[in-house]
């Protein structure tokens, strides 16, 4: 039997022959993916929003491979204090992976640093007069140990939850202690429709000249390089390599990744925004 080669990140047991076969079929023009998707096509997923009554905003997503993620957003009123890190601390993100003892700091960081994009106006909406502000807790619960890299699942669910997050309307004056409108129907969205939406992160794997969105773990194992591209609105706000692969990646490929990510993200935003409109 062929020795098993296990990719460290994805843990896929694929023999060198299988890896090579997969690699070849992905480098063809047009490429052939194992599940016959087009390069930009995502796997089917189930998404629900606004599922938990005790949160300000929530969402749940179930990926085809069994990955499941629940995000709850809660907001609390907090006094401004000089000792804390200022507005940077107003949003707190924690990721909990089921069955793992330690919280995965890296994943949380990925989401957090792209969340507070300047000019999005989120921090202005969190300020409550002169002395108080909202503190927003984003708790991400990864229910099943992910089979492929969970970054896409996490950020898409977080996006959905944040889009559905509402904060009670402030009725008091700037200098007073905050008093809120009792009517939940008057609550204001954290991310209004006409403003910059929360960012999402897409995983892109490049094999030869071809690039693929939403890679399965087999594709991740066969890829030359795995990039996590964060997109906010119509702009790319961050790119990082998750797996260097064998020989790195050419400049032209990175350029294409960024260009295509914007187009794909627009489609993703469109379909995520339609979640919950049906009912």
């Amino acid at each position: 039997m062929a020795p098993l080669q296990t990719s460290q990140q994805t843990g896929t047991p694929l023999s060198p022959a299988e890896l090579s076969y997969l690699h070849t079929s992905l480098t063809l023009t047009p490429p052939i993916r194992p599940d016959s998707r087009t390069p930009t096509q995502f796997r089917p997923l189930i998404a629900e929003s606004d599922i938990l009554p005790s949160t300000n905003g929530s969402a749940r997503m179930i990926w085809g491979d069994g990955g499941e993620c629940v995000v709850g957003v809660k907001a609390e009123v907090e006094k401004n204090s000089a000792s804390s890190g200022g507005p940077r601390d107003w949003v707190e993100i924690s990721v909990e992976v089921s069955g793992q003892r330690d919280d995965d700091a890296f994943l949380g960081m990925t989401v957090a640093e792209s969340l507070l994009v300047p000019e999005s106006g989120v921090l202005e909406r969190l300020a409550l007069g002169e002395r108080f502000h909202w503190k927003v807790f984003v708790d991400i619960l990864l229910l099943t140990p992910p089979l492929s890299h969970p970054a896409t699942l996490l950020t898409l669910t977080t996006y959905l939850a944040l889009r559905n997050t509402f904060l009670p309307k402030l009725v008091s004056e700037v200098a007073e202690d905050p008093v809120f409108d009792d009517d939940w129907d008057n609550a204001l969205p954290l991310y209004p429709v006409d403003r910059i939406a929360p960012p999402i992160t897409l995983l892109v794997v490049s094999v030869g000249e071809n690039i693929f969105f939403d890679p399965t773990r087999e594709e991740l194992a066969a890829g030359d390089v795995v990039l996590a591209v964060s997109i906010c609105g119509k702009k790319v706000v961050g790119v990082r390599t998750l797996e260097g692969g064998g020989g790195g990646v050419g400049r032209a490929v990175v350029k294409r990744v960024i260009k295509e990510s914007c187009e794909v993200a627009e489609e993703v935003f469109g379909s995520l925004n339609s979640v919950g409109e049906g009912d």
Partner: protein, 248 residues
């Protein structure tokens, strides 16, 4: 005396139920493909996701028993599940107690001797809490264990009962507490196996008059019977669905 009345003179509770009515109960089986068995239970505003893996090779040495299968339970409260955000660590006393209560209850009902030297791992996630959390966890775990095909004698079903004191000092049992009732009234959680009236789990965390316990148990057993019927419907419907899809 609390601000609002738990039971109105007309016999209605704050959410409009009568004393012997349970809240809206809905459950789903096989919600994820990543585990051997899974379920999602909504009981009122209490929402629990459960997944079961097993029988598997024991992951730790102390889960290995050459006589029977070991049942390990992980209970996890989501930080956003309560009214205020609160993170519960793994060492939280209440969580540990729930875990041991659940694993002991199921150890007595599952046919543990059939899978020696292996482990059944039950993982429960509480997404939203509104009373009767332990009972909902029991029901969710039962459904997930059925979905995983772990051999068991019958359904384990659980519910809660509170004891309400009327202004005239007479008492009235209230079936299925929500969180407001749980806060104000003494109550019990009990679980039964199948149609029998045999109690496999009984938890009493507050003081209650001894002579009231009998009545509460009677109402609780009745409630467990109702829940059993609901779970049975869910399982049958899921089975029919599987048969239609050609999975059986």
């Amino acid at each position: 005396m609390s601000r609002y009345e738990i039971l109105s003179p007309e016999g209605l509770r704050t959410d409009g139920r009568r004393w012997n009515e349970i809240r809206r109960f809905s459950a789903k089986m096989a919600t994820t493909t990543a585990a051997d068995g899974s379920s999602y239970v909504e009981h009122g505003n209490t929402k629990v996701i459960c997944s079961v893996n097993g029988p598997i090779e024991p992951r730790t040495a102390n889960a290995r028993n050459s006589e029977r299968v070991t049942i390990t339970v992980d209970v996890c409260f989501a930080a956003f599940s309560g009214t205020d955000r609160k993170k519960r660590g793994r060492g939280d006393k209440r969580v540990l107690e729930m875990q041991s209560a659940l694993s002991r209850t199921f150890a007595s009902t599952l046919l543990t001797a059939l899978h020696p030297r292996s482990e059944v791992h039950v993982s429960l996630h509480i997404l939203s809490q509104d009373g009767s959390i332990l009972a909902t966890c029991v029901n969710a775990a039962t459904l997930a264990l059925v979905d995983a095909g772990v051999p068991m004698t019958d359904y384990v079903t659980a519910c809660t009962v509170a004891s309400y004191t009327n202004p005239d000092e007479s008492d009235e049992p209230l079936l299925d507490m929500n969180s407001a009732e749980e806060m104000d009234l003494p109550g019990i959680t009990l679980a039964t196996v199948g149609r029998s009236d045999r109690i496999s789990l009984l938890q009493l965390e507050t003081k209650v008059r001894l002579e009231r316990l009998e009545g509460m148990l009677a109402v609780g057993l009745d409630g467990c019977g109702k829940i059993r019927q609901l779970l049975d419907e869910v399982v049958r419907e899921h089975g029919n669905e599987m048969a239609r899809m050609g999975a059986l």
